[in-house]
Symmetry: C2
Subunit: 138 residues, 2 copies
């Protein structure tokens, strides 16, 4: 099980890199070299962050990406939502069909409780706090 998928993970790491770089423009090329990620995939990810207003992009030679909002205002929960949709520990969907017993499901209460805790933790975890407390050194 992966609460965080690869694209979200790459997004987080790329954002951290951009913050730490202290440059006013970072290109995909530079990120690929610094973070060893597959270029085209990372590009798709950054484009999405651009569409969602997390990054601001500049086309053309010497172009690249810049943070559009401050890192204290970018939350991991938000990034997960962008790439994976609303955070849910249990979708109650199997094979495209929703559980018919969801109204009487005896598991739902406890799962909802865990889910609520999880969401609140992720929604209060910002990129800047990751950089402060994290083991970002190699």
């Amino acid at each position: 099980m992966n609460l965080i998928t690869r694209n979200t993970d790459y997004a987080i790491r790329a954002l951290c890199y951009i913050v730490k770089s202290n440059k006013n423009m970072v290109s995909v090329r530079e990120l690929v070299e610094g973070l060893k990620m597959p270029g085209p995939f990372l590009r798709k990810i950054l484009q999405e962050l651009s569409r969602k207003g997390i990054l601001r992009s500049y086309k053309g030679k010497n172009g690249g990406f810049v943070l559009a909002i401050r890192p204290e205002k970018i939350y991991v929960g938000e990034l997960i939502e962008i790439f994976q949709g609303p955070i849910k520990l249990q979708e109650h969907i199997f094979r495209k069909k929703i559980c018919p017993e969801i109204k009487s499901c005896i598991l739902k209460k406890k799962i909802d409780e865990i889910e609520e805790y999880t969401i609140s933790e992720l929604n209060s975890l910002s990129i800047s706090s990751l950089l402060k407390t994290g083991r970002q050194d190699k």
Copy 2:
């Protein structure tokens, strides 16, 4: 995302049914009728519970399954482990490859924290407590 997959879910519901039935033997046939689950799939699930010592099975005519241990001693966390392996919110595995940066991953601390809470909640949630507090009525 599904913290609980369909086989685990069916297993839990079947166990609850067996407890509530108060019979000393329940067959797959009866469970299928009572719970509207696909027969062969449920059979595979109950066989696994048998192998793992949760149920005791009896072959032959009038055969079926009986609880092998008391419902207070059967925990949801344990059932998840049986059908899905060790509970993890983040496997750090994508495409069969483990994250190379796991040693320096800035996300790991927080995820581990959420994971620990989740596991402890699931490991203390028994079948009997589900039956007591749950909305098991239709």
